[in-house]
């Protein structure tokens, strides 16, 4: 048993950061170093999930608690394992998108895009400029929609309610736009190898732009409502620090990696579709706590808006899809294509044998790697913070289990 983290003296409470002043938020008490077994009582095993409102799906955490502090965590997944990789071996190449849609079901376009890019790389199909721009436009709209889900539920995890309703209000507008473009509210199946399924509907540009105008204001409101809240800041600042080394060792990608201070973005460093022609910044965090992950994602939404304006303004003319055969038959080979999805790097490793179906499709899911980090990062935190931490990493269980 180690030393207690704070002591109660006659004059008050002594914390590692000095004497506690009544009326001020307590400093230092929340930050308990790892491995402290302070109470010396029997540990309690708590099963969190698969039905639990703050696990965002069917994640099952087996948590060992010492009082209120998490000692060990075991992540148990597989409740949504439905064989996307196996079923892909019996689907034609233009049908792979339907399976990928249901993998990461909140940022849908990115999965389709990864498959399409992989097939195009194998068959050396040149995508027309307009197709590439439409793909990028829908991808950025999807990123906004996906980050809005994260924003709403992250607030719920920290105990706020209002921002969920506002986020859903804005998401409805976005889904209306995407429905008009693709024909479905959620599983678009819009991006195919060679281009996209259909041209942009007439008049959609003005709708997107008017959405941008209103959402730009709303986004600042959202940020002020949640990020400007003192209680929220107290709950997320300094909690769940993921150092750059830990992030690299556990294979974090995307916004979670950038929050830890490593500025790698597939859109900039492995550019695809229309990203080389766009101007955007990559937000980078400093220490990698939950607050950094929050600010990085909020800034990403602003950058997405900036990109959407450029994309609508500079939309080139021409065909919306390349001339591709009805039944795609890529040559035998192996290819890796990756995109920056809302949760990190979504990669498709495609093996073909010259037939009409893939020999093997491997789906590199960013959330799986984020998910195994919980076993490393949750111990040492309070149980109440564990729920908040799950929200801050933004995992999607469809992608974890595949």
């Amino acid at each position: 048993m180690t030393e207690p983290h704070f002591t109660v003296t006659e004059s008050g409470l002594m914390t590692p950061e000095g004497m506690y002043i009544p009326g001020e938020p307590p400093k230092g008490i929340r930050r308990i170093p790892k491995g402290v077994d302070r109470l010396g009582t029997e540990h309690l095993i708590v099963n969190m999930g698969p039905q639990h409102p703050s696990t965002h799906g069917v994640l099952h955490l087996i948590v060992e608690l010492d009082g209120e502090e998490v000692v060990t965590v075991e992540v148990s997944i597989g409740f949504l394992h439905r064989g996307i990789e196996k079923l892909a071996e019996s689907r034609r190449f233009d049908h792979l998108g339907t399976l990928m849609d249901r993998g990461d079901y909140v940022s849908v376009i990115h999965g389709e895009q990864a498959v399409a890019l992989a097939v195009e790389k194998l068959m050396e199909i040149e995508v027309p400029a307009k197709a590439a721009w439409i793909r990028t436009l829908t991808a950025e709209l999807t990123r906004l929609a996906s980050h809005l889900v994260w924003f709403g539920t992250f607030g719920l995890d920290t105990g706020a309610m209002g921002q969920f309703l506002y986020a859903m209000r804005d998401r409805e507008v976005l889904l209306d736009i995407l429905e008009e473009i693709s024909g479905q509210r959620m599983m678009f199946n819009y991006v195919r190898p060679g281009g996209v399924v259909a041209d942009l509907p007439t008049g959609i540009e003005s709708r997107i732009l008017s959405f941008c105008d209103t959402f730009e204001v709303y986004l600042e409101e959202h940020d002020a409502l949640l990020g400007g809240n003192e209680i929220f800041q107290a709950r997320v600042k300094g909690i769940g620090v993921v150092s750059k080394e830990t992030a690299l060792a556990f294979g974090l990608t995307g916004a979670n990696l950038r929050a830890s201070g490593l500025g790698f973005d597939v859109r900039r460093d492995r550019p695809y579709d229309a990203y080389p022609e766009l101007e955007f910044d990559i937000p980078i965090g400093t220490i990698g706590d939950s607050w950094d992950r929050y600010t990085v994602r909020m800034e990403e939404m602003r950058q997405s808006l900036r990109m959407i304006r450029q994309l609508v303004g500079g939309m080139p003319g021409g065909p919306f899809t390349a001339k591709v055969p009805k039944v795609l038959r890529p040559p035998a080979g192996e290819v890796y294509a990756s995109v920056e999805s809302s949760r990190g790097e979504t990669g498709i490793h495609l093996f073909t044998d010259g037939g009409t179906t893939p020999y093997r499709m491997h789906y590199r899911a960013a959330s799986l790697f984020t998910c195994q980090l919980f076993e490393e990062i949750l111990p040492g935190h309070l149980f109440a913070d564990a729920c908040m931490l799950l929200g801050s990493f933004d995992i999607m269980l469809g992608e974890v289990d595949r």
Binding site: P50, H52, G57, V58, F79, L80, R171, M187
Partner: protein, 167 residues
């Protein structure tokens, strides 16, 4: 039967107690917040969001199965999850209803060929309302609840009739 038509000054309604209970039940269907897959985004999150606003029908989410009347199975049920789904169903108090939401919960959907996936949730639980679609729109969960309300109100009448016959 419309109770609200009878609410005037000094109004009096004669109603069988079972009918009254079922009428009350049909207007406060609390569902279990258990979203397993993609359909949960549409069927639970957006449906309870500001546009499709579930709550005005008396439909509200509960985090515990002990307080829930309806279970919306929104998503694929595989062999590992099936045990959990059945446990949750068993924990719910009677009377209880199940809505199979989406293609996966109905028949296995796009994943029906995978040996690990259950071919429809009705293999393990009794289902009252099936909603097709992949995913169904949030409007369809409203429709499902309207159908469920009809079923519950009809149930009382059926039971009363059965009792009359046996007398």
């Amino acid at each position: 039967m419309a109770i609200d038509k009878l609410t005037g000054e000094n109004s009096l309604a004669f109603i069988k107690s079972e009918q009254l209970f079922d009428y009350a039940r049909s207007n406060s269907l609390w569902y279990l917040a258990f979203g397993s897959a993609c359909c949960a985004i549409e069927g639970l999150m957006h449906a309870s969001g500001p546009r499709f606003d579930f709550d005005r029908m008396g439909v509200f989410f509960r985090a515990s199965p002990r307080q829930a009347d309806v279970m919306i199975v929104a998503g694929t049920v595989n062999l590992k999850l099936a045990e959990t789904v059945r446990t949750l169903y068993d924990q719910m108090p009677e009377p209880k209803w199940v809505v199979a939401f989406g293609a996966c919960a109905n028949t296995g959907g796009p994943f029906r060929e995978y040996p690990n996936v259950l071919l429809g949730v009705d293999k393990i639980l009794p289902v009252d309302v099936y909603v097709p679609g992949c995913p169904p729109r949030p409007e369809s969960i409203h429709f499902a609840f309207r159908e469920l309300q009809k079923k519950i109100r009809g149930r009382a009448e059926e039971r009363l009739e059965a009792r009359r016959d046996s007398r």
